[in-house]
Amino acid sequence: MEQRDVVIIGGGPAGLAAAVKLKEKEINDILIIERERQLGGILRQCIHDGFGLTRFGETLSGPEYSQRFIDEVETLGIDFITNATVIDLTGDKIVTVATRDGLLQVQAKTVILAMGCRERTRGALAIPGTRPSGIYNAGVAQSYINLFNTMVGKEVIIMGSGDIGLIMARRLTLEGAHVKAVFEVLPYPSGLPRNIEQCLHDYDIPLYLSHSVIEIKGNERIEGVRVAEVGTDLKPIPGTEKDFSCDTLILSVGLIPENELSLAAGAVLDERTKGAFVDENFQTNVPGIFAAGNVLHVHDLVDFVSLEAEALAEGAAQYLKRGYLEACDIPVETDAKIGHVIPQRISGKKNFRMSMRVRKPTGKCRIEVRQGEHLIKSVPLPKALPAEMIQFEVEADQILPNGKIEVSVYEK
């Protein structure tokens, strides 16, 4: 069986950044496995700009952003295979890959999970009605329009205000479609404020908050949707129904980390992130298996995916050199106002970056990190939105050797 120090599953932004950083750490025996024909992951179809402001200090389109990493992978001579799908991963780190040349098995010392995420579908929402054509997930419509030169429709309704849905509202408008409205079931948008501004307001596309599509109409092709206002319980309010005609319905209703392989290897997932539980080194509960990027928790910006994968590479390189990492026995927990936190456990001996999202929009507030009465850190924020990840450094010299860490939000 082929042996490798590191196998990276997924050649998107997380996998590429981890590979480059590992190589810089003098880890040379790396294999990136990518199921698509080209490296780059989802960025290949994200042709809009706005990527890279944090990581590179300039604004790039998705393909340009990923090419920076692909160039480094090629310059550094890091091995990769494309058109290759990992079909199994064991806790002993045996990676089974279906390739164009047949089945490949690799025994890895370290595995980096960088599979990204996928879109929640109509099935998960259980929208009643017929099952006509013309209903697309936002990312699917994006690949049709931006990669394959196939327009998806003319009269468009978008359900969900996730960032990809907003980006597609603008893209469809530029390509001549009429985007009639975006409906969001929650009382606040899921996407970033700048995307509401530059993708909807710029093109006079109305956004209806606290509204949901409650029925899909049409037989061969979708002909329209019935929409209703929803109450605080998110259930439709009788008497508020309205009908909209359309030939296309785009769904932008959330992303789910893709963790079938993580589960196969025995990684335990966090119910809140739908990604693995990890420590400050991004190591899962399976020693030598690490995770970063959207497979771990859905990010708002690719820059943070790259930075997270680079931080992972530090830990993975240390694991390879020493054969183990510091035990991480201090759990990190949150109050009910915080949706999730990464990492979920730490050693207390190392500075680390904490990532989280709030559950509801909050004005001026502060985030407190505590161990019982002991305040480790207090971070003031002008606002906190569920659309935006909150990240800050936590310094080890502030952490007590024992006692769980609790993260809370206090509104001013």
Partner: protein, 125 residues
Amino acid sequence: MKSRTFVCIVCPNGCTVEVQYEEQEVLAISGNKCKKGAEYVTQEMTDPRRTIATTVPISGAELPLCSVRLTKAIPKKDIFRVMEEIRKVSLEAPVTIGQTVIRNVCGLDSDVIVTKNMKREMNKN
């Protein structure tokens, strides 16, 4: 004195910026985390500009489309005019990032450039 509120689109912070003004004169700007926010709203008050990203057909490559973008923001009102111009062009593989597709599009002092490396594929025409 009048006031207007903007969401700055320069970076993902998406600051809510309030501008107080009289006639065309900006008197005070608040809410922006950095000076780019002040520049953005000042521009937005008088001459709102945007960059656009789209695709153009390409022959001889793995995929039928190549992504492109503008090098500089153009007046918002000219977006669809520029889209019309971009629609007229097509490319032939190979192309590389940064390659100019249209110089000075519509005389707006902005170029359309390629944003994806695309190789020539032997079996594609």
